[in-house]
């Protein structure tokens, strides 16, 4: 986290400029859609619900994604700078997880003020009492995201230039998380399957819960599915890590 704070401009862009811009874009976009369509509701929900969902989803998806740290982990292995971590009594997985959680915590606390003030000013549907558990869920989900990053970065032990895998994985997560559109708009059985997957807990479940679209049972099952996801992905990660270290040649030294 100290490394990130060294670069104040980068930090300010990430914590303030980006959330502000995305908030403005979402408000303008959904106001224009409803004005252009001349409708008061789409799929049973009014403009305020869509703006609330979009704002919340955009905000939470920014918290629950981790391409930056994944690129760094891949880079460490490809360039051989991982050497200094391997020969120290520390875990590569935990080292990056602590960086990720620390950075996300700081940026979340700062950037949270922007969408929250919009919710207050525009009196958008928002259950304030549901915010803490929803944020907790997203941070728990971050462990799963990090575990997936760990698996992807392990491929760098065997292959070069694997950043494309990160992009493809993130595109998949973007669709499965519900950031693009509320998953309850999908037809059955696709809707149930998507919501049961742990990835819906990045955006759809916490957003739906905060904005009042879904109840607490989704949060409970969400925690369970994230836990299962973390266990499965970490087992895969452990396997590739062990194999990777055996194949590793200590690049560049």
């Amino acid at each position: 986290m100290l490394s990130n704070l060294e670069y104040r401009l980068n930090f300010l862009v990430d914590a303030i400029v980006q959330p502000t811009l995305s908030t403005i874009v979402e408000i303008v976009l959904w106001t224009s859609i409803f004005a252009g369509a001349g409708l008061s509701a789409i799929g049973g929900f009014g403009k305020e619900y869509y703006i609330a969902y979009a704002l919340c989803a955009t905000f939470l998806s920014r918290i629950s994604s981790s391409w930056m740290y994944e690129f760094r982990m891949i880079q460490e292995i490809e360039s051989g700078t991982i050497n200094s971590l391997i020969v120290r009594p520390m875990s590569f997985y935990e080292y990056y997880l602590s960086q990720l959680l620390g950075y996300k915590f700081i940026t979340t606390v700062i950037s949270l003020t922007i969408p929250l003030s919009v919710f207050l000013v525009y009196k958008l549907p928002f259950h304030w009492d549901r915010l803490p558990i929803s944020l907790l869920m997203v941070f728990y989900y971050l462990i799963l995201v990090h575990s997936m990053s760990f698996v992807v970065s392990c491929f760098a032990f065997f292959l070069n230039r694997i950043q494309g895998i990160t992009s493809a994985k993130n595109l998949g997560l973007w669709l499965l998380s519900g950031e693009l559109f509320p998953l309850d708009l999908l037809p059955e059985p696709l809707k149930t399957i998507m919501i049961q997957l742990p990835f819906a807990n990045a955006v759809y479940v916490p957003t739906g819960y905060i904005t009042g679209r879904i109840g607490f049972e989704y949060i409970k099952s969400g925690f369970v599915s994230i836990t299962v996801g973390i266990i499965v992905v970490n087992l895969i990660g452990y396997f590739f890590w062990r194999r990777g270290l055996k194949a590793y040649v200590g690049t560049g030294a």
Partner: protein, 329 residues
């Protein structure tokens, strides 16, 4: 005699593949890739005592860094076994990693974006050190290395020499029992090289740390190493003291003899040598064991006023050894 490093038939084979020219050949590589195997280490057997500085030298690609990487636990060997401080290095047991340090001269191991002091406090946490003791130790080492003034400057803004001193402090912070140093003086100016050399010599003498050192600067090895390991094509071709190595090798010494009286005519000596007429000073290249015979031959033909023996340069000895063994890669 206690050995803290032992290896038995340690080998490492690297596998790579051929990359022929052109797009078609690159496409062909998808289904018909030709692999090449290269043995970087071949059945290396070693025993190293504690508290010694071991100089590991060899040509580029000879296998010295591979040996260092295996012993520090960075990479896994293809076959054979090794024990360092009673641990199998590549199992990377945290108890083992707390007792060793690896410093790679060509790689930064501290954090690039923060100050060395921040890096050291992070390292103190990684190694479970008492923060106050660690801070004192940083100051103590920085004084010895004459670099207290840069401790609060971002690492990326330091010169190469300053960075290397910071890396050394980072490597020694937890007082390792075994220190692996790979080219610690590479690219440094003469002053920085000598500061680091002096520091290492003093530090090791006081702390009795075992050091395995690789360097392209033979001065590092000649001045620091108690034991020399010469590695060539993945095999240890010499294991002993630097002094013994120089004596053992048949490189020629230069002897300069100044006579009291200039010879009036050429005087033949054995092995085709001669004292040339009209010259007071005579220079000869001789083998290590030829000096007594040469002196007695010259003395028989005139009185010696002065005699200078120029010792063979260590670097030349190594080069000569590798060349005569036809083992340069």
């Amino acid at each position: 005699m206690s050995f803290i490093i032992r290896t038995e038939n340690l080998s490492r084979i690297y596998q790579t593949y051929k990359k022929p020219e052109g797009v078609m050949n690159s496409l062909k590589g998808f289904w018909q890739r030709q692999y090449i195997e290269k043995a970087a280490l071949k059945n290396v057997n070693l025993e190293i005592e504690s508290g010694k500085i071991i100089g590991l030298i060899g040509a580029n690609g000879a296998g010295k860094t591979t040996l260092l990487k295996i012993l520090s636990g960075l990479i896994t060997p293809s076959s054979g076994s090794a024990s360092v401080l009673g641990f199998n290095p590549w199992e990377r047991d945290y108890r083992y990693l707390r007792k060793i340090s690896l410093l790679l001269g060509q790689k930064n191991q501290l954090w690039w974006d923060i100050s060395p002091l921040d890096s050291f406090s992070l390292l103190a946490r990684i190694y479970d050190l008492d923060p106050k003791k660690a801070a004192n130790r940083v100051q103590e080492l920085a004084k010895l290395l004459k670099c207290t003034h840069v401790l609060e400057t971002q690492l990326r803004r330091l010169s190469l020499g300053e960075r290397m001193k910071m890396e050394l402090i980072g490597a020694l912070l937890h007082e390792p029992e075994v220190l692996f140093l790979d080219e610690p003086t590479i690219g440094l100016d003469i002053v920085a090289q000598s500061t680091i050399r002096e520091f290492l010599a003093t530090y090791v003498k006081e702390r009795k740390t075992t050091v395995i050192l690789t360097s392209h600067y033979m001065d590092d090895i000649a001045k620091l190493a108690d034991q020399l390991l010469l590695i060539s094509r993945g095999e240890i071709v010499y294991n002993g003291t630097v002094k013994h190595f120089i004596t053992k090798t048949s490189i020629k010494q230069q002897v300069v003899v100044v006579l009291e009286q200039i010879p009036e005519s050429d005087i033949a000596l054995s092995l085709g040598r001669q004292l040339t007429s009209g010259q007071k000073e005579h220079s000869f290249e001789i083998e290590n064991n030829e000096l007594p015979k040469l002196i007695s031959e010259i003395s028989a033909n005139g009185k010696i006023q002065d005699l200078k023996v120029v010792e063979a340069n260590f670097e030349d000895v190594i080069r000569h050894f590798l060349e005569t063994e036809s083992r340069v890669l």
